[in-house]
Amino acid sequence: MLKIQGLHKRYGAFAALTDVTLTIAPGELVSLIGPSGAGKSTLIRCVNRLVEPTSGKVLLKDTELTGLSRSALRLERRRIGMIFQDYALVNRLTVMENVLSGRLGYTSFFKSLVRRFPQADVDQAFALLERVGLEGLHDRRADALSGGQRQRVGIARALLQSPELLLVDEPTASLDPRTARQIMRLIAELCRERGLAAIINIHDVPLAQQFTDRIIGLAAGKLIFDGLPGDLDNSVLTKIYGGEDWSQPAASAEDADDFEDGDDSAADGTLDALTKTDGVSA
Protein backbone atom coordinates (compact mmCIF):
# COMPACT_ATOMS: atom_id res chain seq x y z
CA MET A 1 0.00 0.00 0.00
CA LEU A 2 2.60 2.54 1.12
CA LYS A 3 6.32 1.97 0.77
CA ILE A 4 8.91 4.34 2.17
CA GLN A 5 12.46 3.52 1.07
CA GLY A 6 15.65 5.04 2.42
CA LEU A 7 14.05 8.36 3.22
CA HIS A 8 16.33 11.21 4.33
CA LYS A 9 15.40 14.74 5.27
CA ARG A 10 18.02 17.34 6.14
CA TYR A 11 17.52 20.93 7.25
CA GLY A 12 20.94 22.42 6.63
CA ALA A 13 23.30 20.40 8.78
CA PHE A 14 20.48 18.95 10.91
CA ALA A 15 19.30 15.48 9.93
CA ALA A 16 15.57 15.33 10.69
CA LEU A 17 15.17 11.87 9.17
CA THR A 18 17.86 9.31 8.50
CA ASP A 19 17.34 6.32 6.23
CA VAL A 20 13.73 5.52 7.13
CA THR A 21 12.36 2.44 5.40
CA LEU A 22 8.94 0.96 6.10
CA THR A 23 5.96 -0.65 4.41
CA ILE A 24 2.34 -0.33 5.34
CA ALA A 25 -0.25 -2.93 4.31
CA PRO A 26 -3.75 -2.04 3.12
CA GLY A 27 -6.11 -1.37 6.01
CA GLU A 28 -3.30 -1.31 8.56
CA LEU A 29 -3.45 1.18 11.45
CA VAL A 30 0.06 2.20 12.44
CA SER A 31 1.06 4.45 15.33
CA LEU A 32 4.19 6.49 15.05
CA ILE A 33 5.60 7.32 18.48
CA GLY A 34 8.69 9.15 19.60
CA PRO A 35 9.77 12.22 21.54
CA SER A 36 9.08 15.72 20.28
CA GLY A 37 11.52 16.60 17.52
CA ALA A 38 12.10 12.95 16.60
CA GLY A 39 10.85 13.62 13.07
CA LYS A 40 7.34 12.14 13.27
CA SER A 41 5.62 15.15 11.70
CA THR A 42 8.38 15.47 9.13
CA LEU A 43 7.99 11.81 8.19
CA ILE A 44 4.27 11.95 7.51
CA ARG A 45 4.64 15.30 5.73
CA CYS A 46 7.22 13.71 3.46
CA VAL A 47 4.56 11.24 2.33
CA ASN A 48 2.30 13.88 0.78
CA ARG A 49 5.27 16.19 0.22
CA LEU A 50 4.11 19.06 2.36
CA VAL A 51 7.76 18.65 3.28
CA GLU A 52 10.08 17.84 0.40
CA PRO A 53 12.29 14.85 1.27
CA THR A 54 16.03 15.28 0.65
CA SER A 55 16.39 11.79 -0.76
CA GLY A 56 14.65 8.44 -0.80
CA LYS A 57 11.44 7.14 -2.29
CA VAL A 58 7.79 7.15 -1.29
CA LEU A 59 5.47 4.82 -3.20
CA LEU A 60 1.69 4.81 -2.85
CA LYS A 61 0.60 1.53 -4.43
CA ASP A 62 2.47 1.74 -7.75
CA THR A 63 2.86 5.51 -7.92
CA GLU A 64 6.14 7.02 -6.91
CA LEU A 65 5.14 10.23 -5.13
CA THR A 66 8.67 11.53 -4.87
CA GLY A 67 9.68 12.94 -8.22
CA LEU A 68 6.14 13.73 -9.39
CA SER A 69 5.58 17.11 -11.01
CA ARG A 70 3.58 19.71 -9.09
CA SER A 71 0.36 19.07 -11.00
CA ALA A 72 0.70 15.28 -10.88
CA LEU A 73 1.40 15.52 -7.15
CA ARG A 74 -1.80 17.52 -6.70
CA LEU A 75 -3.81 14.68 -8.22
CA GLU A 76 -2.09 12.07 -6.06
CA ARG A 77 -2.63 14.11 -2.89
CA ARG A 78 -6.35 13.47 -3.27
CA ARG A 79 -5.65 9.82 -2.39
CA ILE A 80 -4.07 10.84 0.92
CA GLY A 81 -6.21 12.41 3.64
CA MET A 82 -4.58 14.33 6.45
CA ILE A 83 -5.76 15.14 9.97
CA PHE A 84 -3.92 17.72 12.06
CA GLN A 85 -3.04 18.34 15.68
CA ASP A 86 -4.58 21.78 15.96
CA TYR A 87 -7.41 20.83 13.58
CA ALA A 88 -6.13 23.24 10.89
CA LEU A 89 -9.62 24.38 10.05
CA VAL A 90 -10.19 27.70 8.37
CA ASN A 91 -11.84 29.42 11.30
CA ARG A 92 -13.84 32.03 9.46
CA LEU A 93 -15.43 29.52 7.08
CA THR A 94 -18.46 27.43 7.93
CA VAL A 95 -18.23 23.78 8.94
CA MET A 96 -19.62 22.80 5.52
CA GLU A 97 -17.05 24.87 3.62
CA ASN A 98 -14.29 23.28 5.68
CA VAL A 99 -15.60 19.78 4.97
CA LEU A 100 -16.17 20.48 1.28
CA SER A 101 -12.62 21.77 0.96
CA GLY A 102 -11.78 18.06 1.02
CA ARG A 103 -13.12 18.00 -2.55
CA LEU A 104 -10.97 20.87 -3.85
CA GLY A 105 -8.70 18.47 -5.70
CA TYR A 106 -11.72 17.22 -7.67
CA THR A 107 -13.36 20.60 -8.30
CA SER A 108 -12.57 23.30 -10.84
CA PHE A 109 -11.29 26.61 -9.54
CA PHE A 110 -14.34 28.61 -10.57
CA LYS A 111 -16.83 26.16 -9.08
CA SER A 112 -14.93 26.08 -5.81
CA LEU A 113 -14.69 29.89 -5.81
CA VAL A 114 -18.47 30.25 -5.95
CA ARG A 115 -19.00 27.22 -3.66
CA ARG A 116 -20.89 25.20 -6.29
CA PHE A 117 -19.88 21.66 -5.44
CA PRO A 118 -21.54 18.70 -7.19
CA GLN A 119 -24.67 17.46 -5.42
CA ALA A 120 -23.03 14.08 -4.83
CA ASP A 121 -20.24 15.79 -2.86
CA VAL A 122 -22.74 17.77 -0.80
CA ASP A 123 -24.75 14.60 -0.05
CA GLN A 124 -21.59 12.82 1.01
CA ALA A 125 -20.55 15.76 3.17
CA PHE A 126 -23.89 15.72 5.00
CA ALA A 127 -23.60 11.96 5.49
CA LEU A 128 -20.07 12.31 6.87
CA LEU A 129 -21.05 15.11 9.23
CA GLU A 130 -23.78 12.87 10.53
CA ARG A 131 -21.36 9.96 10.86
CA VAL A 132 -18.86 11.98 12.91
CA GLY A 133 -21.65 13.35 15.10
CA LEU A 134 -21.99 16.91 13.86
CA GLU A 135 -25.48 16.69 12.42
CA GLY A 136 -27.11 20.10 12.04
CA LEU A 137 -23.92 22.08 12.65
CA HIS A 138 -23.01 22.56 8.97
CA ASP A 139 -23.66 26.32 8.92
CA ARG A 140 -21.79 27.12 12.14
CA ARG A 141 -18.52 28.94 11.82
CA ALA A 142 -15.64 26.57 12.54
CA ASP A 143 -14.38 28.73 15.41
CA ALA A 144 -17.74 28.39 17.16
CA LEU A 145 -17.10 24.69 17.84
CA SER A 146 -15.38 22.94 20.75
CA GLY A 147 -12.01 21.25 20.29
CA GLY A 148 -13.48 17.78 19.90
CA GLN A 149 -16.04 19.02 17.41
CA ARG A 150 -13.37 20.81 15.39
CA GLN A 151 -11.33 17.65 15.14
CA ARG A 152 -14.46 15.85 13.89
CA VAL A 153 -14.72 18.47 11.14
CA GLY A 154 -11.07 17.79 10.32
CA ILE A 155 -11.83 14.06 10.10
CA ALA A 156 -14.84 14.64 7.86
CA ARG A 157 -12.76 16.87 5.56
CA ALA A 158 -10.06 14.23 5.22
CA LEU A 159 -12.57 11.45 4.53
CA LEU A 160 -14.48 13.48 1.94
CA GLN A 161 -11.37 13.18 -0.23
CA SER A 162 -12.20 9.45 -0.50
CA PRO A 163 -8.59 8.74 0.44
CA GLU A 164 -6.81 5.40 0.40
CA LEU A 165 -4.44 6.43 3.14
CA LEU A 166 -4.83 8.70 6.17
CA LEU A 167 -1.96 10.68 7.63
CA VAL A 168 -2.84 11.71 11.15
CA ASP A 169 -0.63 14.19 12.99
CA GLU A 170 -1.15 14.24 16.76
CA PRO A 171 -4.95 14.09 16.53
CA THR A 172 -5.46 14.21 20.27
CA ALA A 173 -2.69 16.50 21.50
CA SER A 174 -4.98 19.50 21.98
CA LEU A 175 -7.86 17.52 23.51
CA ASP A 176 -8.87 16.46 27.01
CA PRO A 177 -8.31 12.78 27.86
CA ARG A 178 -11.88 11.71 27.31
CA THR A 179 -12.37 13.55 24.02
CA ALA A 180 -8.97 12.21 22.94
CA ARG A 181 -10.23 8.64 23.32
CA GLN A 182 -13.45 9.40 21.50
CA ILE A 183 -11.53 10.91 18.61
CA MET A 184 -9.07 8.00 18.44
CA ARG A 185 -11.94 5.54 18.57
CA LEU A 186 -13.74 7.42 15.78
CA ILE A 187 -10.65 7.46 13.57
CA ALA A 188 -10.03 3.75 14.17
CA GLU A 189 -13.67 2.86 13.46
CA LEU A 190 -13.79 4.89 10.27
CA CYS A 191 -10.57 3.31 9.02
CA ARG A 192 -11.94 -0.16 9.68
CA GLU A 193 -15.28 0.65 7.99
CA ARG A 194 -13.54 1.89 4.89
CA GLY A 195 -10.54 -0.39 4.89
CA LEU A 196 -8.27 2.64 5.10
CA ALA A 197 -4.64 2.45 6.07
CA ALA A 198 -3.46 5.13 8.48
CA ILE A 199 -0.26 6.43 10.01
CA ILE A 200 -1.01 8.14 13.30
CA ASN A 201 1.56 10.27 15.09
CA ILE A 202 0.76 10.18 18.73
CA HIS A 203 2.36 11.02 22.06
CA ASP A 204 -0.09 9.05 24.14
CA VAL A 205 1.38 5.53 24.21
CA PRO A 206 -1.59 3.81 25.91
CA LEU A 207 -3.94 5.25 23.27
CA ALA A 208 -1.61 4.02 20.54
CA GLN A 209 -1.58 0.54 22.07
CA GLN A 210 -5.34 0.48 22.48
CA PHE A 211 -6.38 1.61 19.02
CA THR A 212 -3.72 0.60 16.50
CA ASP A 213 -2.36 -2.64 15.04
CA ARG A 214 1.28 -1.79 14.91
CA ILE A 215 3.63 0.65 16.54
CA ILE A 216 6.68 2.30 15.03
CA GLY A 217 9.15 4.11 17.27
CA LEU A 218 11.21 7.00 16.00
CA ALA A 219 14.05 8.71 17.87
CA ALA A 220 16.35 11.40 16.51
CA GLY A 221 15.11 10.75 12.99
CA LYS A 222 15.87 7.03 13.03
CA LEU A 223 13.43 4.14 13.04
CA ILE A 224 14.26 2.14 16.15
CA PHE A 225 11.19 0.04 16.87
CA ASP A 226 8.61 -1.66 14.68
CA GLY A 227 6.28 -4.17 16.28
CA LEU A 228 2.97 -5.09 17.83
CA PRO A 229 1.44 -2.97 20.60
CA GLY A 230 2.05 -5.85 22.99
CA ASP A 231 5.78 -5.85 22.29
CA LEU A 232 6.15 -2.32 23.53
CA ASP A 233 7.64 -2.80 26.99
CA ASN A 234 9.51 -0.48 29.31
CA SER A 235 12.91 -1.24 27.81
CA VAL A 236 11.65 -0.26 24.35
CA LEU A 237 10.07 2.92 25.73
CA THR A 238 13.40 3.80 27.31
CA LYS A 239 15.10 3.23 23.97
CA ILE A 240 12.65 5.57 22.26
CA TYR A 241 12.13 8.27 24.84
CA GLY A 242 15.08 7.95 27.22
CA GLY A 243 15.16 6.86 30.85
CA GLU A 244 12.02 7.34 32.95
CA ASP A 245 9.93 5.40 35.46
CA TRP A 246 7.43 3.99 32.97
CA SER A 247 5.02 2.63 35.60
CA GLN A 248 3.82 6.18 36.31
CA PRO A 249 2.15 7.11 32.98
CA ALA A 250 0.66 3.61 32.78
CA ALA A 251 -1.06 4.18 36.14
CA SER A 252 -2.53 7.48 35.04
CA ALA A 253 -3.80 5.83 31.88
CA GLU A 254 -5.72 3.36 34.06
CA ASP A 255 -7.28 6.31 35.86
CA ALA A 256 -8.53 7.62 32.53
CA ASP A 257 -10.12 4.19 31.97
CA ASP A 258 -11.97 4.42 35.25
CA PHE A 259 -13.21 7.85 34.34
CA GLU A 260 -14.80 6.61 31.17
CA ASP A 261 -16.00 3.06 31.85
CA GLY A 262 -16.44 3.15 35.58
CA ASP A 263 -18.88 4.82 37.88
CA ASP A 264 -21.15 6.68 35.49
CA SER A 265 -23.78 7.58 38.04
CA ALA A 266 -21.35 9.54 40.18
CA ALA A 267 -20.18 11.71 37.33
CA ASP A 268 -23.45 11.73 35.43
CA GLY A 269 -23.95 15.49 35.35
CA THR A 270 -20.43 16.19 34.13
CA LEU A 271 -20.55 13.43 31.56
CA ASP A 272 -23.86 14.70 30.23
CA ALA A 273 -22.44 18.17 29.93
CA LEU A 274 -19.37 16.83 28.14
CA THR A 275 -21.49 14.77 25.80
CA LYS A 276 -23.60 17.77 24.91
CA THR A 277 -20.71 20.11 24.23
CA ASP A 278 -19.00 17.52 22.13
CA GLY A 279 -22.12 16.52 20.26
CA VAL A 280 -21.60 12.76 20.56
CA SER A 281 -21.58 10.18 23.31
CA ALA A 282 -18.69 7.80 23.60
Binding site: L50, V90, R92, L93, E97, S101, G102, L104, G105, T107
Partner: protein
Protein backbone atom coordinates in the same frame (compact mmCIF):
# COMPACT_ATOMS: atom_id res chain seq x y z
CA UNK B 1 11.02 54.43 64.69
CA UNK B 2 11.52 53.29 61.16
CA UNK B 3 14.81 51.77 62.22
CA UNK B 4 12.90 49.49 64.57
CA UNK B 5 10.67 48.08 61.86
CA UNK B 6 13.61 47.50 59.48
CA UNK B 7 15.03 44.00 59.71
CA UNK B 8 18.44 44.65 61.21
CA UNK B 9 20.45 41.80 59.76
CA UNK B 10 19.54 42.48 56.13
CA UNK B 11 21.31 44.97 53.88
CA UNK B 12 19.01 47.02 51.65
CA UNK B 13 19.31 46.03 48.02
CA UNK B 14 18.44 48.89 45.69
CA UNK B 15 17.44 48.36 42.08
CA UNK B 16 17.39 50.61 39.06
CA UNK B 17 16.38 49.83 35.51
CA UNK B 18 19.58 49.24 33.50
CA UNK B 19 20.17 52.20 31.13
CA UNK B 20 19.38 51.70 27.42
CA UNK B 21 22.89 52.80 26.45
CA UNK B 22 25.37 50.95 28.62
CA UNK B 23 28.51 53.06 28.12
CA UNK B 24 28.13 56.19 30.33
CA UNK B 25 30.54 58.23 28.16
CA UNK B 26 28.51 57.53 25.00
CA UNK B 27 25.27 58.16 26.92
CA UNK B 28 26.34 61.59 28.18
CA UNK B 29 27.87 62.51 24.84
CA UNK B 30 24.51 61.80 23.22
CA UNK B 31 22.58 63.82 25.82
CA UNK B 32 24.87 66.83 25.56
CA UNK B 33 25.10 66.54 21.78
CA UNK B 34 21.30 66.53 21.41
CA UNK B 35 20.86 69.60 23.59
CA UNK B 36 23.67 71.43 21.78
CA UNK B 37 22.18 70.59 18.38
CA UNK B 38 18.72 71.78 19.50
CA UNK B 39 20.19 75.12 20.68
CA UNK B 40 22.10 75.63 17.42
CA UNK B 41 19.06 74.69 15.36
CA UNK B 42 16.86 77.14 17.24
CA UNK B 43 19.46 79.85 16.78
CA UNK B 44 19.52 79.25 13.02
CA UNK B 45 15.77 79.87 12.67
CA UNK B 46 15.22 83.55 11.98
CA UNK B 47 12.34 84.60 14.16
CA UNK B 48 11.05 87.90 12.87
CA UNK B 49 8.72 89.66 15.30
CA UNK B 50 7.37 92.02 12.66
CA UNK B 51 6.26 89.10 10.49
CA UNK B 52 4.68 87.37 13.48
CA UNK B 53 2.55 90.47 14.12
CA UNK B 54 1.63 90.76 10.46
CA UNK B 55 0.68 87.08 10.49
CA UNK B 56 -1.60 87.54 13.46
CA UNK B 57 -3.51 90.23 11.61
CA UNK B 58 -4.00 87.95 8.62
CA UNK B 59 -4.93 85.09 10.92
CA UNK B 60 -7.69 87.28 12.33
CA UNK B 61 -9.32 87.80 8.94
CA UNK B 62 -8.90 84.07 8.25
CA UNK B 63 -10.60 83.07 11.48
CA UNK B 64 -13.30 85.66 10.89
CA UNK B 65 -13.94 83.97 7.58
CA UNK B 66 -13.98 80.54 9.20
CA UNK B 67 -16.56 81.73 11.70
CA UNK B 68 -18.84 82.85 8.88
CA UNK B 69 -18.51 80.15 6.21
CA UNK B 70 -20.06 81.04 2.91
CA UNK B 71 -21.42 78.03 1.04
CA UNK B 72 -23.55 80.04 -1.37
CA UNK B 73 -21.40 82.43 -3.41
CA UNK B 74 -19.01 79.81 -4.79
CA UNK B 75 -21.41 76.90 -4.51
CA UNK B 76 -21.13 75.73 -8.14
CA UNK B 77 -17.32 75.65 -7.88
CA UNK B 78 -17.45 73.89 -4.52
CA UNK B 79 -19.95 71.33 -5.74
CA UNK B 80 -17.93 70.58 -8.87
CA UNK B 81 -14.75 70.29 -6.78
CA UNK B 82 -16.30 67.83 -4.36
CA UNK B 83 -17.87 65.78 -7.14
CA UNK B 84 -14.46 65.55 -8.79
CA UNK B 85 -12.73 64.63 -5.53
CA UNK B 86 -15.27 61.96 -4.63
CA UNK B 87 -14.99 60.45 -8.11
CA UNK B 88 -11.20 60.43 -7.82
CA UNK B 89 -11.43 58.87 -4.38
CA UNK B 90 -13.79 56.04 -5.32
CA UNK B 91 -12.23 55.23 -8.68
CA UNK B 92 -8.68 55.29 -7.32
CA UNK B 93 -9.59 53.10 -4.36
CA UNK B 94 -11.30 50.53 -6.59
CA UNK B 95 -8.41 50.46 -9.07
CA UNK B 96 -5.94 50.39 -6.19
CA UNK B 97 -7.69 47.39 -4.60
CA UNK B 98 -7.80 45.51 -7.91
CA UNK B 99 -4.09 46.08 -8.51
CA UNK B 100 -2.95 45.60 -4.92
CA UNK B 101 -4.43 42.11 -4.56
CA UNK B 102 -2.22 40.32 -7.11
CA UNK B 103 0.80 42.43 -6.17
CA UNK B 104 0.20 41.97 -2.44
CA UNK B 105 -0.18 38.19 -2.79
CA UNK B 106 2.94 38.10 -4.94
CA UNK B 107 4.82 40.06 -2.31
CA UNK B 108 3.99 37.57 0.45
CA UNK B 109 7.10 35.52 1.13
CA UNK B 110 5.20 32.42 2.25
CA UNK B 111 3.03 32.25 -0.87
CA UNK B 112 5.01 33.50 -3.84
CA UNK B 113 7.74 31.98 -5.90
CA UNK B 114 10.99 33.80 -5.09
CA UNK B 115 11.44 35.85 -8.33
CA UNK B 116 7.78 36.92 -8.27
CA UNK B 117 8.22 37.94 -4.65
CA UNK B 118 11.20 40.14 -5.49
CA UNK B 119 9.44 41.81 -8.43
CA UNK B 120 6.30 42.54 -6.41
CA UNK B 121 8.27 43.83 -3.43
CA UNK B 122 10.16 46.18 -5.74
CA UNK B 123 6.91 47.49 -7.24
CA UNK B 124 5.60 48.18 -3.75
CA UNK B 125 8.81 49.84 -2.62
CA UNK B 126 8.90 52.15 -5.66
CA UNK B 127 5.24 53.09 -5.32
CA UNK B 128 5.79 54.11 -1.72
CA UNK B 129 9.12 55.83 -2.30
CA UNK B 130 7.69 59.32 -2.90
CA UNK B 131 5.11 61.34 -1.09
CA UNK B 132 1.80 61.83 -2.90
CA UNK B 133 2.66 65.47 -3.54
CA UNK B 134 5.81 64.61 -5.46
CA UNK B 135 4.02 61.89 -7.43
CA UNK B 136 1.24 64.39 -8.19
CA UNK B 137 3.73 66.96 -9.45
CA UNK B 138 5.24 64.29 -11.74
CA UNK B 139 1.86 63.19 -13.08
CA UNK B 140 0.69 66.78 -13.58
CA UNK B 141 3.83 67.33 -15.64
CA UNK B 142 3.09 64.15 -17.61
CA UNK B 143 -0.68 64.36 -18.11
CA UNK B 144 -1.34 68.08 -17.57
CA UNK B 145 -3.52 69.78 -14.97
CA UNK B 146 -6.73 68.10 -13.85
CA UNK B 147 -8.23 65.15 -12.06
CA UNK B 148 -6.63 62.47 -14.25
CA UNK B 149 -3.19 63.25 -12.83
CA UNK B 150 -4.73 63.20 -9.35
CA UNK B 151 -6.41 59.88 -9.99
CA UNK B 152 -3.14 58.29 -11.13
CA UNK B 153 -1.37 59.63 -8.06
CA UNK B 154 -3.94 58.14 -5.72
CA UNK B 155 -3.87 54.78 -7.53
CA UNK B 156 -0.09 54.58 -7.12
CA UNK B 157 -0.14 55.38 -3.42
CA UNK B 158 -3.14 53.09 -2.79
CA UNK B 159 -1.33 50.17 -4.42
CA UNK B 160 1.77 50.85 -2.33
CA UNK B 161 -0.19 51.08 0.89
CA UNK B 162 -2.68 48.23 0.46
CA UNK B 163 -0.20 45.94 -1.30
CA UNK B 164 2.40 46.19 1.43
CA UNK B 165 -0.08 45.72 4.26
CA UNK B 166 -1.82 42.84 2.47
CA UNK B 167 1.52 41.10 1.96
CA UNK B 168 2.38 41.48 5.62
CA UNK B 169 -1.04 40.20 6.64
CA UNK B 170 -0.66 37.15 4.40
CA UNK B 171 2.79 36.48 5.83
CA UNK B 172 1.35 36.26 9.33
CA UNK B 173 -1.57 33.90 8.66
CA UNK B 174 -1.87 30.55 10.38
CA UNK B 175 -0.03 28.20 8.10
CA UNK B 176 -1.67 24.95 9.25
CA UNK B 177 -4.92 25.84 7.46
CA UNK B 178 -2.96 26.31 4.24
CA UNK B 179 -1.23 22.96 4.79
CA UNK B 180 -4.59 21.29 5.35
CA UNK B 181 -6.06 22.70 2.16
CA UNK B 182 -2.88 21.81 0.25
CA UNK B 183 -3.08 18.23 1.47
CA UNK B 184 -6.49 17.79 -0.18
CA UNK B 185 -4.90 18.34 -3.58
CA UNK B 186 -6.00 21.96 -3.96
CA UNK B 187 -4.33 24.17 -6.57
CA UNK B 188 -2.49 27.39 -5.68
CA UNK B 189 -5.53 29.53 -6.46
CA UNK B 190 -7.81 27.25 -4.45
CA UNK B 191 -5.43 27.48 -1.52
CA UNK B 192 -5.58 31.26 -1.72
CA UNK B 193 -9.37 31.29 -1.90
CA UNK B 194 -10.00 28.70 0.84
CA UNK B 195 -7.17 29.18 3.32
CA UNK B 196 -5.67 32.64 2.79
CA UNK B 197 -8.58 34.91 1.88
CA UNK B 198 -10.80 33.99 4.85
CA UNK B 199 -7.91 34.73 7.20
CA UNK B 200 -6.97 38.14 5.77
CA UNK B 201 -10.36 39.39 4.57
CA UNK B 202 -11.57 41.33 7.64
CA UNK B 203 -8.30 43.17 8.03
CA UNK B 204 -7.99 43.88 4.32
CA UNK B 205 -11.51 45.27 4.24
CA UNK B 206 -10.72 47.51 7.20
CA UNK B 207 -7.58 48.76 5.48
CA UNK B 208 -9.50 49.45 2.27
CA UNK B 209 -12.05 51.56 4.12
CA UNK B 210 -9.25 53.40 5.86
CA UNK B 211 -7.52 53.97 2.53
CA UNK B 212 -10.80 55.30 1.11
CA UNK B 213 -10.79 58.15 3.57
CA UNK B 214 -7.05 58.75 3.20
CA UNK B 215 -7.65 59.05 -0.54
CA UNK B 216 -10.36 61.60 0.01
CA UNK B 217 -8.13 63.73 2.23
CA UNK B 218 -5.20 63.33 -0.16
CA UNK B 219 -7.37 64.40 -3.07
CA UNK B 220 -7.73 67.73 -1.29
CA UNK B 221 -3.96 68.02 -0.84
CA UNK B 222 -2.81 67.05 -4.33
CA UNK B 223 -5.33 69.51 -5.80
CA UNK B 224 -3.04 72.21 -4.46
CA UNK B 225 -0.39 71.24 -7.03
CA UNK B 226 -2.88 71.14 -9.89
CA UNK B 227 -4.16 67.59 -9.74
CA UNK B 228 -7.83 68.56 -9.72
CA UNK B 229 -10.55 67.91 -7.20
CA UNK B 230 -11.58 69.97 -4.20
CA UNK B 231 -7.94 70.85 -3.58
CA UNK B 232 -7.94 72.92 -6.76
CA UNK B 233 -11.10 74.74 -5.64
CA UNK B 234 -9.55 75.30 -2.23
CA UNK B 235 -6.40 76.66 -3.81
CA UNK B 236 -8.38 79.11 -5.96
CA UNK B 237 -10.33 80.31 -2.93
CA UNK B 238 -7.07 80.89 -1.04
CA UNK B 239 -5.59 82.79 -3.98
CA UNK B 240 -8.61 85.10 -3.99
CA UNK B 241 -8.47 85.56 -0.20
CA UNK B 242 -12.06 84.26 -0.02
CA UNK B 243 -11.63 82.84 3.47
CA UNK B 244 -15.38 82.34 3.94
CA UNK B 245 -15.41 79.98 0.95
CA UNK B 246 -12.25 78.30 2.28
CA UNK B 247 -14.06 77.76 5.57
CA UNK B 248 -17.05 76.25 3.79
CA UNK B 249 -14.79 73.81 1.95
CA UNK B 250 -12.85 72.84 5.08
CA UNK B 251 -16.05 72.24 7.03
CA UNK B 252 -17.38 70.03 4.25
CA UNK B 253 -14.14 68.03 4.19
CA UNK B 254 -14.45 67.46 7.94
CA UNK B 255 -18.08 66.41 7.50
CA UNK B 256 -17.28 63.93 4.75
CA UNK B 257 -14.34 62.41 6.63
CA UNK B 258 -16.56 61.97 9.69
CA UNK B 259 -19.27 60.29 7.61
CA UNK B 260 -16.66 57.98 6.07
CA UNK B 261 -15.42 57.15 9.58
CA UNK B 262 -18.89 56.18 10.83
CA UNK B 263 -19.69 54.22 7.68
CA UNK B 264 -16.38 52.34 7.95
CA UNK B 265 -16.89 51.31 11.54
CA UNK B 266 -20.46 50.22 10.81
CA UNK B 267 -19.30 48.03 7.91
CA UNK B 268 -16.43 46.59 9.92
CA UNK B 269 -18.74 45.64 12.76
CA UNK B 270 -20.91 43.66 10.38
CA UNK B 271 -18.13 41.75 8.71
CA UNK B 272 -15.89 40.81 11.65
Amino acid sequence: MSEVTQPTNQTVRTWRRPPQIKDPRLRWALYIGSVAYLCLALASVEIDVARLVEGTVRAKSLFAGVLSPDFVTRWTDIRAGFAESLTMTVVSTVLGVLLSIPIGLGAARNLAWRPVYLVCRSILAVSRAFHELIVAVLFVAMFGFGPFAGLMTLVVSTVGFLGKLLAEEVESIEWNAVEAVTSTGASWLQRVVYAVVPQVLPRYLGLTLYRLDINFRDSAVIGLVGAGGIGATLNTAFDRYEFDAVAAILLMIIGIVLCAEYAASAIRKRVL
